[in-house]
Symmetry: C2
Subunit: 121 residues, 2 copies
């Protein structure tokens, strides 16, 4: 997994060693950066973004989300699993109906930062 320590893959020579060292010293470990990329990956899909936007307005059941987005129930269910595993949404069961909602207020913030970036262009 982490071949950066054993083998040299890079095919070019450093130009500013001081900058490379400085940046290397403050770089978080690989696992943390990997987790961060994984988090953003979850946001990086239109269907999931739509689901998250919907849930930021109201708790919703799987069926209603499928109707709202006009998609197959199973497609929604698969995506909700991804969101669940990333701990971005939580759920509660009421009989045979499962209601999903955002797990964390952080999510809304990330969302809004994203929006204000694209607005800004």
């Amino acid at each position: 997994m982490d071949k950066s320590k054993s083998t040299t893959i890079c095919d070019c020579h450093p130009i500013h060693n001081d900058i490379i060292e400085k940046v290397k010293n403050v770089m978080p470990n690989d696992e943390k950066l990997y987790d961060l990329a994984e988090l953003f990956k979850v946001f990086g899909d239109t269907t999931r973004i739509k689901i998250l936007h919907a849930l930021s307005e109201s708790e919703m059941c799987v069926c209603d989300i499928a109707v709202l987005l006009n998609m197959k129930q199973s497609a929604i269910s698969h995506q909700l699993r991804v969101l669940r595993q990333a701990r971005i949404v939580k759920f509660r069961k009421e009989g045979k109906i499962v209601y999903y909602s955002l797990d964390d207020e952080h999510i809304k913030n990330i969302f809004e930062q994203g929006f204000s970036h694209i607005e800004h262009k």
Copy 2:
């Protein structure tokens, strides 16, 4: 592209029509949500996250980034193109060396929000 208006794909029945309507009414248009997903997609890759973290510390040239991450120069160059097209990084040329830096302070914020989400678990 937008089949949601013409064809019905969904295979299940609405349960709470009031909620569906309410959420539908505040939903941004498809294009905006698509752009948002595209933005996060760019953050959703370990290599690009590492590049962005590096650039959040210091302007860097392509070569030095490749050395820092121990990756092929062309791999870095391809990823920098993705970041450039998303207007997340900018660059300046000095002779044959090209220096990249973050285009926007927003980027750091999105980054930090992401970090505080994964820290929180």
